[in-house]
C-alpha cells in the first residue's frame, strides 16, 4: 500500500540547483510571509550541475570590462541570430548584481591586486570569463542562504508531472525516491529548474552515468513542461561539447586558455581561433577529427611550471575534481601530455547551446503560473550566471503572480491515473531492468540522431522513439530507487522524440555541428530565420515556426558571421 503525502505551498520550485536555490531565495526576499518549497530529488547541499562548485563564471558582464549590449551582440552572433534578445539582455544586465550578491554571501571570485574582478577573454570578442579558483563550496553557501531565508526544502522527492487546471500550473506530483510515498504538492505557481537533458546520447565509454552533465539531469523539466502544455524551442540546437576523451568532463579551455593553453590537432597546430564553445567550433573539431589530423588535444606542454601548477590547482579542486585521478591513473601529466579531447554525446541544454522550454525575459513559460530557469529554460549560452539571473527573475515573478491566485483541489481522476503510471514498474519487479532499457534507447539516439543529421536516419529514430512507449511498459523496478531511474527513462524518451521531430522540421543547417544536416547543408535565412517551437496539442506533438522577437541591439548578421576556423597551418 502506497502512502500519500499532501503538501501545500505558495511557490513550488522543482529542482534545487543553481537556478532553483536562487529562485527560492528571491521569492522569499520578495515576500517573506509567503511559503516557498524546493522539491529536490537529490539533496540541495550537493545537487545539480554545480554539485562540486564551479571553476569560473563564463558570462560575467562587469562594468568597465563589457556592457550588456556587447554581450547581447556576441551571443546573437554565436547563436546565428536565433534568440530573444530581451531575455539574453537580462543576463548581461543583472549578472553583475548576482555576482556582487554571491560575493556578499562568501562566494570567492578572482580579484586583481586592486580588488577588482579579474576578467579573462575566452569569447571571440570581449572579456566575460571570471575565474573562481575557490568555487568548490558554492552549493553549501547557497544551501545556507536557502535556510537563512526560511524557504522549505524537501529532499529526495522526484517530481514526475506538473498539475495543470484551467490552463494554469497548480502544483506537481511525484514520489519519494527512498520510501516510495506518492507526493502531491498544491501550489499557486511552479518554477521548473531541473537542469539539462544530460542523459540523451550515450557516452562512447558506454557508461550510462559518465555524462558531461550531472546524470541526475535527465530532461525532467523538458518533459514535464511539455506534458503541461508549454512550448519548447530550439530543441534541434543540440548540446555537443569538446571534452576530455573518456572522462567526458571539461578539460577545461575556459580555465586554461587565458593562461596560454589552446586546442590543437595531433600535429600540435591550432585549427580553431577561439576556444569558446559554439556549434561552429564543434563543426571545426568534427572536421579536424575526420581529416586524419586528429586526435585533438588541449595543449599546455609549452607552459612553464608555475602556470601549469596554477591551472592544476583550479581544475583539480572545482567542478569536476576527479580530473586529477583520471589523468594520474593513465600516467598522464599536463607538462608532458596534451589532454586528448573528443566530441561528447548529444544533450539538450540552454546553458551551453539554446534548447529549452520557451521563456520570455521574465522567465514566464507559455502556461500561466509556470516558470522555468537554468539549463532547461531557452536562454541561449546562459551558463551559471544566466541560471542565477533567471532563477531570480522566476522567483520574483512567481511571487508576484501568487498574490491574486487561490489554491485549487487537484483532480482526483488525474491523480489516480498519474499514480498508476508512476508505480507500474514496481508492479513488475522482474521486468526488464531500467539500465538495459535506457542503454538501448540512448544507443538509438547515438546511431540515428547524432550530427551530421540525415533525414532517413532521423525518420528511423523517430519511429523507434514513438514505439519505445511499448518498451517502457516492460520496465521493472524492485525498489523506489530503481523506480526513479525508470521514470527518468520516460523523460529521456520524451526528449529523444522532441529532438528527432525538431531536427526533421528545420530543413536547413544552422549552429555549426549542433544542427548540421547532410541533405540541407546550407543556412537558409529566408525560410528558417525563426524559432522552431513545439508543444502538445490534443495529445500530439505539434511543431511550428515562431518569429524571432524584434532585436533591441542592432546586429548585422550578413557581415558578422561567427567563424572560428584557422586556415593557415
Amino acid at each position: 500500500m502506497t502512502n500519500t503525502q499532501h503538501l501545500k505551498t505558495d511557490v513550488l520550485v522543482v529542482g534545487g540547483g543553481t537556478a532553483g536555490t536562487m529562485a527560492a531565495i528571491k521569492a522569499k526576499q520578495a515576500n517573506p510571509e509567503a511559503e516557498v518549497l524546493i522539491l529536490e530529488k537529490a539533496n540541495i547541499r550537493r545537487s545539480g550541475a554545480i554539485a562540486m562548485g564551479m571553476d569560473g563564471v563564463n558570462t560575467a558582464v562587469i562594468p568597465g570590462n563589457s556592457t550588456p549590449e556587447q554581450y547581447v551582440r556576441e551571443i546573437t552572433i554565436a547563436n546565428d541570430g536565433i534568440l530573444n534578445q530581451k531575455a539574453v539582455y537580462q543576463t548581461g544586465k543583472l549578472g553583475y548584481e548576482v555576482i556582487q550578491e554571491l560575493d556578499s554571501w562568501g562566494v570567492k571570485f578572482q580579484k586583481d591586486t586592486y580588488g577588482n574582478y579579474d576578467l579573462k577573454q575566452v569569447h571571440r570578442v570581449g572579456k566575460y570569463v571570471l575565474p573562481m579558483p575557490e568555487g568548490k563550496d558554492l552549493k553549501k553557501i547557497l544551501t545556507r542562504q536557502v535556510k537563512r531565508h526560511k524557504a522549505k526544502v524537501t529532499n529526495r522527492v522526484m517530481a514526475t508531472r506538473v498539475m495543470v487546471k484551467d490552463g494554469r500550473a497548480r502544483g506537481a506530483v511525484g514520489f519519494d525516491v527512498r520510501n516510495g510515498d506518492f507526493v502531491v504538492i498544491q501550489a499557486k505557481a511552479v518554477v521548473l529548474c531541473t537542469g539539462a537533458c544530460g542523459r540523451l546520447g550515450l557516452p562512447d565509454s558506454g557508461y550510462l552515468y559518465g555524462t558531461y552533465e550531472n546524470p541526475t539531469n535527465a530532461g525532467d523539466g523538458y518533459s514535464m513542461a511539455y506534458h503541461a502544455g508549454a512550448e519548447l524551442t530550439n530543441i534541434e540546437c543540440f548540446q555537443i561539447n569538446p571534452l576530455i576523451k573518456d572522462y567526458n568532463g571539461p578539460a577545461c579551455a575556459y580555465v586554461a586558455s587565458p593562461f596560454g593553453a589552446y586546442t590543437a590537432n595531433a600535429e600540435g597546430h591550432r585549427f580553431v581561433s577561439c576556444d569558446y564553445w559554439s556549434g561552429q567550433m564543434m563543426l571545426e573539431i568534427w572536421k579536424e577529427l575526420n581529416s586524419g589530423k586528429g586526435p585533438i588535444q588541449l595543449k599546455m606542454t609549452h607552459l612553464d611550471e608555475d602556470t601549469i601548477s596554477e591551472i592544476e590547482s583550479i581544475l583539480w579542486a572545482n567542478e569536476r575534481p576527479s580530473r586529477e585521478r583520471f589523468h594520474q591513473s593513465r600516467g598522464e601529466n599536463y607538462r608532458t601530455h596534451g589532454v586528448e579531447m573528443h566530441i561528447s554525446e548529444i544533450g539538450l541544454c540552454s546553458g551551453h547551446s539554446a534548447s529549452g522550454v520557451w521563456v520570455n525575459e521574465k522567465a514566464e513559460t507559455t502556461i500561466p503560473g509556470l516558470y522555468a530557469a537554468g539549463d532547461m529554460a531557452s536562454v541561449p549560452h546562459n551558463y551559471m550566471i544566466g541560471a542565477f539571473v533567471f532563477g531570480r527573475l522566476a522567483g520574483v515573478a512567481a511571487m508576484e503572480y501568487v498574490r491574486d491566485v487561490a489554491h485549487l483541489e487537484p483532480d482526483a481522476d488525474w491523480l489516480a491515473a498519474e499514480k498508476e503510471r508512476i508505480y507500474k514498474p514496481l508492479q513488475n519487479p522482474d521486468g526488464i531492468p531500467h539500465t538495459q532499457v535506457e542503454y538501448k534507447l540512448r544507443r538509438i539516439v547515438n546511431d540515428y540522431l547524432q550530427p551530421p543529421k540525415n533525414t532517413h536516419k532521423m525518420d528511423i529514430a523517430l519511429n523507434k522513439f514513438v514505439n519505445y512507449h511499448d518498451t517502457l511498459d516492460l520496465m521493472g523496478a524492485r525498489d523506489p530507487h530503481e523506480l526513479m531511474r525508470c521514470m527518468e527513462v520516460h523523460f529521456i524518451r520524451d526528449c529523444a522524440e522532441m529532438a528527432a521531430r525538431a531536427s526533421l522540421y528545420r530543413k536547413e543547417s544552422r549552429w555549426g555541428l549542433y544542427h548540421y544536416r547532410i541533405d540541407y547543408p546550407e543556412k537558409n535565412n529566408e525560410e528558417w530565420f525563426c524559432h522552431v517551437n513545439l508543444k502538445q496539442e490534443n495529445g500530439n506533438m505539434t511543431l511550428f515556426k515562431r518569429p524571432v522577437e524584434p532585436y533591441i541591439v542592432d546586429v548585422n548578421l550578413e557581415e558578422e558571421v561567427y567563424d572560428v576556423k584557422v586556415t593557415s597551418k
Binding site: A42, N43, R45, R46, S47, G48, A51, M52, R156, V177, R178, S205, G206, Y207, L208, Y209, G210, T211, N214, P215, T216, D246, Y247, N248, R320, P321, S322, R325, F326, S329, R330, D430, G431, I432, P433, G476, H481, E482, M484, R485
Partner: protein, 75 residues
C-alpha cells in the same frame, strides 16, 4: 524474467574499518543516491552502480573511509 547477479567493479570503495555506524554523511550528499547502509554491519556501501565520480561522498566523509575510483569503463 530471469535476473543474473553479474559482478561489477564499482567506483565507490568504503573502508569498513573506518566507516562509522551512526554516520550518514556520504549517503546524504550523493546526487545519485547510490550509497546505503548494510543493515547487518551498519557500514555504507555502493548499492547501485550509477556514479558521476563527483566526489562529495569522499570529501564529506569525516573519517576518510571513502575512495572514489574513476569507473572502470572510463579510466
Amino acid at each position: 524474467m530471469a535476473l543474473t547477479n553479474q559482478r561489477v567493479d564499482v567506483p565507490v570503495i568504503v573502508d569498513e574499518s573506518k566507516c562509522l555506524e551512526k554516520c550518514h554523511a556520504c549517503i546524504e550528499v550523493c546526487p545519485l543516491d547510490v550509497l546505503v547502509k548494510n543493515p547487518e554491519t551498519g557500514k555504507a556501501y555502493m548499492k547501485y552502480d550509477e556514479c558521476w565520480f563527483c566526489l562529495p561522498c569522499e570529501k564529506e566523509c569525516p573519517t576518510n573511509a571513502i575512495t572514489v575510483q574513476i569507473p572502470f569503463l572510463l579510466r
